[in-house]
Subunit: 253 residues, 2 copies
C-alpha cells in the first residue's frame, strides 16, 4: 500500500481534537472520510505527527495516510481539499512518503505558536484564536524566564496528568516570548513535547509576565518535577501547531 | 450632550454591515443597544467614520456616540465592551471627543487592508478573513500597476453603482501590494474612498497579477472613468478597515 504524507491546516474550535472520539467530530474523522472516497470506500489508516487537543489549531500538522492504490500527490491534495469541505480543514501539501518514513516517529522537530491577546478589550477579530489576558504582561521578563527552561530536562512539572509518555525527559530547543503590538507571542520548538507541556509552560510564564513571580520561578518549578507547582494550563484556543520537520523531508507538492 | 469617540474592532461575517438595516443585525444596532444601557434606556445617536459593508472587518473603525450624561472614557470603554457581548465586536479605545470633532467629517486619513490567500488549498484557519485566489499572482506587477493609480483622480471607474457621493474625485495616497508568505496583501490609504473603491481596485489589480492584463491597464481603466471596464468587485471578506486618523486626535484611553 502506497503511503502518503499530507500537511494540514485546521481550526481547532469546531473539532474535539485530532483524534477520533465518540463525543463529536474530530479532524481525523473528517480526513478519513474524505480519504475513503478515494480509497474504494475503505477508511484508510491515518497517523498524525501530533495529536492536537480540542480547540488547538494547526497551520502545519503532518499526517500519513496509506491508500490501496497509487494516486498522484497533486491529485490527492486537490481531491482531499475538496472532499473535506465545508469543514475548516485544508490540505496544504501532499507527497509520496519516503521509504520507511512515519509521520509521527520520523519527526525530528515540532513547532508551536501560542498567541496571547494582551489588552483590555476582549478579542473580536481573533476570537477563538488567542488567549485573552487583560493585565499588562512583561514579555521581556517572560522571555528571560523561558530561556532558563531550555535544554534536556525532566519536564514532569509541565505534563498533563493524563500524559501517556513513558518518560518525561524532553529537550526544549526554543522558547521565545515576544511582544508584537497588542499580542504576546510564544514560539517553541522541540523534537517532541509532553501532553499539555506548551500550555503549562505558557500558563507558568504568564505568572512571571504579570509580576506575580520572579524570572527564576519557572526554572524552580521545572527542577521540582512537581506538577502541582506550575501555573495554570493556558487555554487551548491560543495554541497553534505550526510545523513538523523530518530528516528525510517528503517531496512536497 | 457629551460626545464620545470609540475605536471598534469587529468581524464582518456575522453582521449585515455597519449600518442599521431591516434584514439582519448590524454593528450599529449592537453598539446602540449596548450604549442605551448606559444612557437611561435611550438609544443615542451614533456616527461612524466609514460605513463598512456586510462581511467587511474592522480593526480600527472610529465612531462617535452622544450620551446624555458624562461618563469616564475608561468606564465607557469597559462597559460597552461588556454589553456588546457575545457579538464579535470589541471596544478598543474611548475618549471624550474634542470640541467640534466629528467621527466622519473630521477624518483626514482612512486605511484599509485587503488580504488575498494565494495558494491552491482553500482557507481553513482564515476562512472568512481572506479572498481565496488559487492561480499564482505576480505581486510585484500588481504593485507596479497600483502606483499608477496614486494621486487625485476621478475614480468613477472604481465606484459602485449605488455610490452616493456627489463627486468621484478622490486623492489616493497609498496603494501597496506585497507578498507575505502565501498571502498577497494590499494596503491603501486616502482621506476618503468611494463605495466599493478598494474592492474594485483590488479586483482590477488581480487581473494584472494573473497576467491577463498589463501593468498599464488599471490606469487606462481609471482614465476611462467607465465602471464597466474595471475588474470584478473583490469579495467583502478580504477587506479590513484598519485605521482612521484625525487632525485633532481624541485623547484615547
Amino acid at each position: 500500500m502506497p503511503l502518503y504524507a499530507l500537511t494540514l491546516e485546521y481550526q481547532g474550535g469546531p473539532f474535539v481534537g485530532w483524534q477520533r472520539q465518540d463525543n463529536g467530530l474530530s479532524v481525523q474523522q473528517v480526513l478519513e472520510e474524505a480519504a475513503a472516497k478515494l480509497n474504494g470506500g475503505v477508511v484508510p489508516p491515518v497517523v498524525a505527527a501530533g495529536r492536537t487537543d480540542a480547540g488547538v489549531h494547526a497551520e502545519g500538522q503532518v499526517v500519513q495516510v496509506a491508500l490501496e492504490r497509487e494516486i498522484a500527490p497533486l491529485k490527492l491534495r486537490e481531491a482531499l481539499d475538496f472532499h473535506t469541505r465545508p469543514h475548516p480543514l485544508a490540505i496544504r501539501r501532499a507527497a509520496l512518503a519516503p521509504e520507511g518514513w512515519n509521520a509521527r516517529f520520523s519527526a525530528i522537530r515540532r513547532g508551536y505558536r501560542y498567541r496571547i491577546l494582551n489588552r483590555r478589550a476582549r478579542p473580536a477579530l481573533d476570537d477563538g484564536r488567542v488567549w485573552h489576558v487583560k493585565a499588562p504582561l512583561d514579555a521581556a521578563a517572560m522571555h528571560e524566564a523561558a530561556q532558563r527552561l531550555l535544554g534536556r530536562h525532566d519536564f514532569s512539572a509541565f505534563r498533563a496528568a493524563a500524559c501517556q509518555a513513558k518518560s518525561a525527559l524532553r529537550t526544549l530547543d526554543r522558547l521565545d516570548v515576544a511582544r508584537i503590538g497588542e499580542e504576546v507571542v510564544v514560539t517553541t520548538e522541540a523534537r517532541s513535547f509532553l501532553h499539555h507541556q506548551v500550555r503549562n509552560m505558557v500558563g507558568t510564564l504568564v505568572e512571571v509576565g504579570q509580576g506575580r513571580r520572579g524570572v527564576d520561578w519557572p526554572r524552580r518549578v521545572l527542577d521540582s518535577a512537581d506538577r502541582t507547582r506550575a501555573g495554570m494550563t493556558a487555554p487551548a484556543e491560543g495554541l497553534c501547531f505550526i510545523f513538523v520537520r523530518y530528516e528525510r523531508e517528503p517531496d512536497w507538492v
